[in-house]
């Protein structure tokens, strides 16, 4: 969804920012570095670092954005545990659509990646084209729901 939402804005971004943080490249997302720093600090144990990251995000993006970001952090601290605690597999369509960049940005290195259905070379080759179709669908959906 990150790639789709960046493309929806007519931008490009380096998705390695997800797995490597700000040193992974420019996410192409407005205030991306401050958001990443806040997420990283919120998951860490360094209270001073968290305070610094929180102040920085508040200063650059505002209090409302900070609160939204805290909500998203809370949400995904839940979702990852639902997935891991129930031992669910990655849905086959998502596995296929993401197969070409999962390895590129390091997602297939995670221990939990054994629960991702294997996608063959044909599936990998098709994933880019299928994602293009999916993005068109998202744009159409977005226009319809506005």
């Amino acid at each position: 969804m990150l790639r789709a939402s960046i493309q929806y804005q007519g931008k490009t971004g380096d998705l390695r920012a997800v797995t490597e943080g700000s040193k992974g490249g420019d996410s192409g997302v407005h205030h991306g570095d401050a958001l990443i720093a806040f997420a990283e600090a919120a998951l860490g144990d360094d209270g001073a670092a968290l305070a610094t990251a929180r102040d920085a995000l508040r200063a650059t993006a505002g209090s409302a954005a900070l609160v939204d970001a805290a909500g998203v952090i809370g949400n995904f601290q839940r979702m990852v545990r639902i997935a891991d605690g129930a031992g669910i597999d990655l849905d086959a369509p998502v596995a296929m659509l993401s197969s070409d960049f999962r390895d590129e940005i390091g997602l297939d290195e995670f221990g939990t990646a054994s629960r991702i259905a294997k996608v063959g070379p044909v599936g990998r080759a098709l994933s880019g084209a299928l994602r293009g179709v999916a993005n068109l669908g998202l744009r159409a959906w977005g226009r319809r729901s506005r």
Binding site: M1, L2, A4, I6, Y8, Q9, K11, L15, V18, V29, H30, L35, I36, F38, A39, E40, A42, L43, L50, R54, R58, A61, G62, S63, A64, A65, V67, D68, A69, A70, G71, V72, I73, G74, N75, F76, Q77, R78, M79, V80, R81, I82, A83, D84, G85, A86, G87, I88, L90, D91, P93, L107, D108, F110, G111, T112, A113, L138, G142, R146
Partner: protein, 251 residues
Amino acid sequence: MMSFDFTGSTDPIRPDLSAQYQRVWTHIAAPGTWLTGAERVAVAAATRDARDCTLCRERKSALSPFSVDGAHATGAPSSLEPLLVDAVHRVATDAARLSKTWYDGMIAGGVSPERYVEALGVAVQVISIDEFHRALAIGLEPLPNPQEGAPTGLRPVGAKTADDAWVPTIQAADLGPDEEDLYDRAPGGKAPGVIKALSLVPAEVRSWKELAAAQYLSTENMMRMENDRALDRAQIELVAGRVSALNECFY
């Protein structure tokens, strides 16, 4: 005093967040499907205990979390099975290294899948609310007082074990009349795995989905690229992706 009163907060908290947190606290305190209100609150307490648990910390730093034995840090005694308390601690502190072998061992040890899934549902909702507070340097809300009453014990007829999850779930085609609201089915009649994950206890799915609509996006708005939040969709997804990656979650 009203719970989740954020009037003194440095950063104004959206009222829908406060309302959802209050709702979840009431939900946790009430008798559930397989756990009493007291047991559900005990799960919430164990979830919080895990953060400062020495055993969990030792396991987290070990090559294998299953190579370290010991006793978990616990507050008030409860009627929860020790294996269920252990599961809550593991989910809270090292979920990425849970395994099917571990899950099967817990079930063989006497924890029912139904009680585990309900405890998982309670634990993850507490975590998501507590982590919001920690991120904003807001003190944690005291846990609610448990409500009296017996669990319903209602098991969805269509729930069964499949090869796409460790726990029994309801496949979209097997939804009964009482569960028709549970999934927002994707084209082709499929339900995403993460929505199905806790479907053995439908009340927990409904609860976390309501909470997610406030903290992230409602399932209805998941496919929309525009929203009325202070963060745009790409910003939301960047935070979501980074949190998932730091948790080593592929999902």
